[in-house]
Symmetry: C2
Subunit: 427 residues, 2 copies
Amino acid sequence: MTETAAPDYHQMWAELGLDLPTHDALLQAVGSMYGDAYLTQANRPKGTDYLDFVLSEVHGLRIKELADFRKSGGKVFGTFCLYVPEEIIRAAGGWNVGLCAGAEFAYDQVEQIMPRNTCALIKSATGFKLAKVCPYFESSDLVIGETTCDGKKKAYELLGKMHNVWVMELPQMKRPEDLAMWKAEIRNLVKKAEETTGTTITAESLRAAITEVNDKRRALRRIAATCTADPAPISGKDRLLATQVAFYDDVPRFTQMMNALADELEQRVANGQGVAPKGAKRILVTGTPMALPNWKLHDIIEKSGAVVVAEEMCTGSRYYTKLVAEDGESVDAMLDDIAEKYLDINCACFTPNQGRIDDVIQMAKDYHADGVIDISLQFCGLYEMESHNVEQAVRDAGFPVLKITTDYSMEDVGQLSTRIEAFLEML
Amino acid sequence: MTETAAPDYHQMWAELGLDLPTHDALLQAVGSMYGDAYLTQANRPKGTDYLDFVLSEVHGLRIKELADFRKSGGKVFGTFCLYVPEEIIRAAGGWNVGLCAGAEFAYDQVEQIMPRNTCALIKSATGFKLAKVCPYFESSDLVIGETTCDGKKKAYELLGKMHNVWVMELPQMKRPEDLAMWKAEIRNLVKKAEETTGTTITAESLRAAITEVNDKRRALRRIAATCTADPAPISGKDRLLATQVAFYDDVPRFTQMMNALADELEQRVANGQGVAPKGAKRILVTGTPMALPNWKLHDIIEKSGAVVVAEEMCTGSRYYTKLVAEDGESVDAMLDDIAEKYLDINCACFTPNQGRIDDVIQMAKDYHADGVIDISLQFCGLYEMESHNVEQAVRDAGFPVLKITTDYSMEDVGQLSTRIEAFLEML
């Protein structure tokens, strides 16, 4: 993270109110995790240089861009969840960025305000805020939460005492009346975004935002599609990272770089060139999202000789598979299209959620998976609870399944490696 | 539970498909818990004889009434949560009963289908179903679930594979649009109830049901009101039991018996007669519901010499405080009244939930509490997570607070007694 040539951002971080010594220690830790997980990989596509660059500047250049944007009057929106439509924020002239999570941080402080048995994602995000080490949080003029799970719903009440937080209500079913409610909630977001930026959404700005964000998703879909090939031309780890970066990078630049990467990957597929030998075991992972820098499971799986060919996750197919229709002619029609696209994502927060089971099985087939690893963050009531039905259906469809419950600590890496290696040998 | 004179219900239980030996063991265990917690109390009001009788017949007479009702064409609705309006079920000619929970049962089977770290209420209810020992569940033609928490939302998917289950969607906020959505959901319940019973709800039947259920709540409110006196004329344990029984007993009979109890309690207050000496420490409890036979905390608190004067709980004030308006003139107007009353209950499933904080503080004042005990079931994400803000506000209002996280096991009784005694001494 702290490459020799990197500019010194300490003043910028101080201006954001970060705790500098703690933040320095964090960056060093993430840099070392990144080096160990990413820079040790063989046969990486050249296009991943961009990801290395982005990571080396993860709290640097991008934060500077946000600061410059804000100095010129722009508004930054922090989000935790893919159900907050970035099209609307962009159409109102705002930028949105995912907030920090993915690593254990300041849990001692966190556990003073929330139960120890809260999922790692929520504890981590709260810890980054309490310890003042997330420049994305501190750069956000408004944090937009959502009611996707009990933990986050209540965490926003706690975070709301420390920051400007506004919460969207997501329905819990997908019936016509839920879609109607969600369409109304999308209008509430429009109002809030417009109020925050002072810019009214127009058909032009909304159409442009829809296309821009669709283009980003299309680039990620191209990358994903190359992983149906054997050998897979890119590691799961790099593909996961691309999706993680998609949550906060500059949209047109990211899209351009990902399309360049996709070009290269398509060429590698044509040449039969892979990151792992042809015939390496192919794993589909499904479950709770993996926030940057949580690369733990992918790292274990791929260091065991297998390849993660796809993620049925919020940091995976749920993020990029579905696109907003591009033929809406009025703001109203486009907002309805946005509502429909987002409600069509299959998160465990919905009941029933057969759509997710169908997605997992279809992806296992499409990506020629040898096995499925179902990964839940401990204390994630939704995914933990849903896993019984998911795993049963996936097994019935003929795919071996390994269930893993873990968190962001590194204490169980040895034990997980043993279990994963045993699973891979069985395939 | 198995008093000598009690009739033999084994054939009825066998017809319901109960596992008879396991069920016998359960009844014996509950009977012994009841004896230890309830029959050891001194100065009990005479009206609690009815509660003793009901408990002695908890899986007997009441189940026979349900069986007879079903034989005559009646339909029984099982529910887990006070947000399912019993007025509508009754207006459609149905009866509703709360389902079994409140004790550890068949956790070995439960943990095969849901995570070990699921709250005791959900594990217990699922265990009773898996082990076939809940005659209320087996007597239910339809179980009506609700989306009040992540755990239950997903548990209904699992229970739906074993029983006829239908789920209501509760909004997560209380804005006008949420009330509109909830009003529509109430209409969905009307349709489902009418479909199930074959009886159409009329203004007459709905008005009668509203009055009947309000009368039940009014009786419980009378009982509660007597506990503002010092000495309190009835133990918290008995008052808790009355609320637990309210969930499944015959409505007019229960109301009549509770009004008789209230008459007696009002007389006791007039006479200065209490269950504990005047000046005994007065405790308000708040938190997660206590399903029958979960009497653990009340038992510990009252055996330590204090009196529980009120419960800000689903098995407490949330159940009986608010009434449905009685001046609705059409079915539509009454359904709106029902929607408004139920959405006005302050469960931790809503965000924000300042209303609950206000309720707790107001009750602490009204009942002259010396201290507040905030009780959460372990792994209840909502109440556990909300407790930080609740406790802070209650302390700021001048009331000492003790936070307890527990489950249905008896292993921590010693430890809890020590903590509670220390808290009481501090008051």
